[in-house]
């Protein structure tokens, strides 16, 4: 690529710094008109404070000093007015529940436009959380006495819940990972030393970046129908969805390796009459979060009151999944996103001679990924 081409390419990219700096003139022009407006004022106060705080994440030399100084003047002129106005704008109490619900919608979308729509919603949720976290940080830093304010404490409580949810369920926000990672890469490398509290607000960015790195999947769009990766006849289903002629050549794709022979594992019964069963699914979960699902079937056994705990990230806290039981078959239908995942199951109840893990697509089983036989214990 020639130098001119590179420069032209760069001039067409919106940098993270300019994403923030480019709003300052608009914010400064609008605030005097709406600072006393009960509807608009609080929202704009959040915008101003979050922008001010966001700029502190970037290395100084990469920001436009005159713009930053103008914002500083406004913020320093009456920080209490801004902080009190910002605290009047509520962060949704049910943010974690909304995120959870949104994640469950993946099982119901098939068309690419619906997928795009859902991904936008995920990014908006991430952005909203980050904006409020930054605004709260600014309030804390600029007007420390407001930390005892009930509104401040309520907002902090809501934000802590939301941040914790994201920490436990980063895969829910995979669609925001490219955005978060792009921002994160432009922040101060010594942010922790510069301001520990501000650094804490970027942990979610780092976590999403790690999620991208783990999967080496550059985009949330890994889930788009064009990238389906399954075994057996799934490619045929994909082709028919895309309107392709099956005889046409398709690009080479990675293939999920299906087990032909059941793997046998010994399990130890715990004192409470239950046992942990764990295994790792060694395949690339590239499309499992969309129109497909992973089903874990307990073959031919009766689970009267099964409790299934699925821990997608052992270092994080447990997630409970409801087991739907019918005719002695337990099924955990759950969308999964990400790369290689370890699964740990705790089964309480009757014996579990084997577990079959299979891929389903639009209500039809497409392949069996893994079959595990458990021996050595009676439950």
């Amino acid at each position: 690529m020639k130098n001119e081409d590179i420069r032209e390419e760069e001039s067409e990219i919106l940098t993270p710094q300019w994403l923030v700096l480019g709003e300052i003139d608009a914010l400064l022009s609008f605030w005097p008109l709406v600072s006393g407006d009960p509807d608009i004022g609080p929202r704009q106060a959040v915008n101003i404070l979050s922008t001010w705080a966001h700029l502190r994440r970037f290395p100084l030399k990469t920001t436009d000093e005159s713009l930053v100084e103008r914002l500083n003047v406004l913020v320093r002129s009456d920080p209490k007015q801004l902080a009190e106005a910002a605290l009047r704008f509520a962060f949704p109490e049910n943010w974690p529940e909304s995120a959870e619900e949104l994640d469950e919608v993946w099982d119901f979308v098939v068309e690419s436009d619906q997928i795009d729509d859902l991904e936008r919603s995920v990014r908006e949720m991430f952005y909203s959380l980050d904006r409020f976290s930054l605004a709260l940080y600014a309030v804390e830093r600029l007007v420390p006495e407001l930390r005892a304010n009930p509104r401040f404490m309520e907002l902090r409580h809501r934000l802590e819940n939301a941040e914790e949810y994201l920490q436990i369920n980063p895969d829910v926000f995979l669609s925001a990972a490219v955005y978060a990672s792009t921002l994160f890469n432009s922040y101060k490398s010594d942010l922790y030393e510069f301001d520990e509290r501000l650094w804490e607000t970027t942990l979610k960015h780092r976590q999403l970046q790690e999620l991208l790195d783990e999967g080496e999947i550059p985009s949330s769009r890994q889930h788009s129908p064009a990238d389906l990766i399954f075994v057996d006849d799934t490619q045929r289903i994909q082709d028919s969805l895309l309107g392709k002629d099956p005889s046409e050549e398709t690009e080479p794709i990675d293939v999920v390796q299906a087990d032909t022979e059941p793997e046998t594992k010994l399990v130890q019964l715990g004192p409470s009459g239950s046992a942990w069963l764990s295994f790792q699914l060694e395949f690339l979960l590239v499309e499992l979060g969309r129109a497909s699902s992973l089903r874990i079937t307990f073959d031919g056994i009766l689970i009267n009151s099964g409790t299934l705990q699925l821990i997608s990230r052992p270092s994080l806290s447990n997630k409970q999944f409801e087991l739907r039981l019918s005719d002695g078959v337990g099924e955990c239908k759950r969308s999964l996103k990400g790369a290689i995942k370890p699964f740990h199951f705790k089964v309480t109840g009757n014996s579990v001679p084997s577990i079959r893990v299979s891929l389903w697509f639009q209500g039809q089983q497409t392949s069996t990924v893994k079959t595990l036989k458990f021996e050595g214990n009676e439950f």
């Binding site: 990219i13 608009a26 915008n47």
Partner: protein, 229 residues
């Protein structure tokens, strides 16, 4: 049936939604669902005469009637207001080059915004979606079929953090919509460019380099545009 409007463009006109059902879905999901409804009432002149944008029961009754082919005059009226805003945004997007293009499974897909702050997604020859992105309600677990719409005409989960007061059509309220829309669309553009899988084939130097228009400049441009049109 909704009489669909078109925006004149070369080489093809752009139809504001592909068909009656697509238009009705977007009216129900965006224009008639909180939090967006709080703001569409500012942008669509006769909205408040048709339905209260803050009252879920009223919104449900009206949306349900639309899906049952009732109240078609009111539907057409709402559509006309929505389509007028979309047409304005397409005009602004093209005029100021505030749009980018992505390869969407082998076809061009365009993403843009105008002075109203509405995020418009279109292909040639139809508008695919138009929304106030920062306020858009989230999808819920439905199959989104036409059959479901008869029982759940507005399936999206409405936002709950707003008051029940209907906001008036002031320049400040309109600028707030514009500003919030710009924030979201600039982020979407940055994300699209960073994400190679999104295949941005025409970038947008204007979005990349321009500042968000300050309020006084925005007023002048809106006024100039009204005179021009």
């Amino acid at each position: 049936m909704i009489q669909l409007r078109k925006v004149s463009r070369q080489p093809n006109d752009i139809s504001i939604f592909a068909n009656h059902e697509a238009a009705l879905e977007h009216i129900c999901d965006h224009v008639l669902t909180r939090e967006e409804s709080y703001f569409w009432v500012i942008l669509i002149p006769r909205y408040r005469d048709i339905v209260n944008p803050t009252n879920d029961r009223e919104l449900d009754i009206l949306a349900s009637a639309f899906w049952r082919d009732q109240e078609q005059d009111l539907l057409q009226e709402l559509y006309e207001g929505y389509a007028k805003v979309i047409a304005d945004e397409l005009h602004f997007s093209y005029h100021d080059s505030w749009y980018w293009e992505q390869d969407h499974y082998g076809k061009s897909r365009y993403f843009g915004i105008g002075l109203h702050g509405v995020y418009v997604i279109w292909s040639l020859p139809t508008v695919v979606s138009a929304m106030l992105l920062p306020y858009a309600a989230k999808k819920t677990k439905t199959s989104f079929s036409c059959h479901d719409r008869l029982t759940t005409p507005r399936p999206r989960r409405p936002g709950s953090e707003f008051s029940n007061e209907i906001r008036s059509d002031t320049e400040e309220n309109r600028y707030e919509i514009f500003f919030a829309g710009c924030q979201s669309v600039r982020r979407e553009y940055m994300d699209a460019c960073a994400d190679k899988k999104k295949k941005v084939v025409r970038k947008c130097p204007e979005i990349a380099k321009d500042k968000v228009i300050p309020v006084e400049d925005w007023k002048k441009r809106v006024f100039a545009n009204r005179s021009e049109r």
